[in-house]
């Protein structure tokens, strides 16, 4: 069984202010064992309408897993962005086996019943 917990990622919610578009990227170490971008070309964070206006954006992360993650926000060349908060939703997978690492699940010898 994996030494580190593997997490299922659901979504991330970002609250920000910006005067232009920005890009959000989410990297994890699975599959492959190395941090890599999992959102393709990235998710575009639209402008909030001005640096004085708040916007909340939720980005789906379904099907993404990893033991490590790295969120990244990159503003456009003429964009200023203030990231106020961000919340990631995840859950640990109880038993995650990576066959490429010869991991296996094996119980103790169990006396079932009362």
């Amino acid at each position: 069984m994996a030494f580190q917990k593997v997490f299922d990622f659901k979504e991330v919610t970002i609250e920000y202010r910006s005067n232009g578009a920005a890009s959000f990227q989410f990297s994890t170490d699975m599959p492959g064992g190395a941090l890599a971008a999992r959102l393709g070309a990235g998710f575009t964070l639209p402008t909030s309408g001005g640096i004085g206006l708040n916007r909340t954006q939720t980005i789906p992360l379904d099907g993404i897993q990893g033991t490590m993650y790295q969120p990244q926000i990159t503003p456009g060349s003429s964009t200023q962005i203030i990231v106020l908060s961000a919340k990631l939703w995840l859950r640990p997978i109880g038993v995650y086996l990576d066959g490429t690492l010869n991991e296996e699940w094996i119980t103790q010898p169990i006396a079932v019943g009362a």
Binding site: D62, K87, V95, G99, I106, T107, P109, A111, A114
Partner: protein, 207 residues
């Protein structure tokens, strides 16, 4: 204790998401009173949804009719891929007269709900706060500033005048008197010598 009674096992069921086939082996301690593999079967890979994500599925297999033991052990070995295991249970009954029932095998639970995890973003304060600029403050009150005038001492101090000091003791001072010699010395008196042959002297005679 649960291990006192022999159990008969009929089925095993697991719940997985897997992108690769694997093998599930069942070990028991009977017969022989030693843990040994009694059965194994291939677990298939899960099918994928439209986004390519594998779906959760149950995999059930019947066990050989004589699979029994005081102890049971399960071992899941995936192929060269990833497998998530969510549940495992075995259908069995106590011998000789127990009822068939599911016995859960211990699998670390995967929560149904997602939990929030705050990302490390420093908070932005809702309110403005004053920030002092680096301007030295001007004091409300005047303060004395000493001018560069050397202070006049409150007390008198002795000041030595330039008078050579008079010695406390007498010292001999030689007076300017030529010394008298201890010995006599000859001194020629102003007496004209008488010649042996007198010289003639011419005297003027009144005519």
């Amino acid at each position: 204790m649960a291990s006192e009674k022999l159990k008969l096992f009929s089925k095993i069921e697991i719940e997985i998401i897997s992108n690769v086939a694997g093998t599930l082996a069942i070990l028991t301690d009977a017969p022989g009173n030693a843990m040994a593999q009694r059965f194994s079967f291939a677990t298939p890979a899960s099918s994928a949804d439209g986004n390519g994500n594998c779906l959760r599925r149950t995999v059930t297999s019947r066990l050989p009719y004589n699979t029994q033991g005081h102890l049971i052990q399960a071992k899941l070995t995936p192929g060269s891929g990833q497998t998530s295991l969510y549940r495992a249970r075995v259908w069995g009954r106590e011998l000789p007269g127990g009822q068939w029932e599911w016995f859960a095998l211990p699998v670390i639970e995967t929560p149904v709900e997602f939990a929030p995890a705050a990302l490390p973003i420093p908070p932005t304060a809702e309110e403005w706060r004053p920030e002092a600029l680096p301007v030295p403050p001007t004091a409300e009150e005047w303060r004395p500033e000493a001018l560069p005038v050397p202070p006049t001492a409150e007390e008198w101090r002795p000041e030595a005048l330039p008078i050579p000091p008079t010695a406390e003791e007498w010292r001999p001072e030689a007076l300017p008197i030529p010394p008298t010699a201890e010995e006599w010395r000859p001194s020629a008196l102003p007496v004209k010598a008488t010649p042996d042959v007198p010289d003639w002297a011419e005297l003027e005679v009144d005519a």
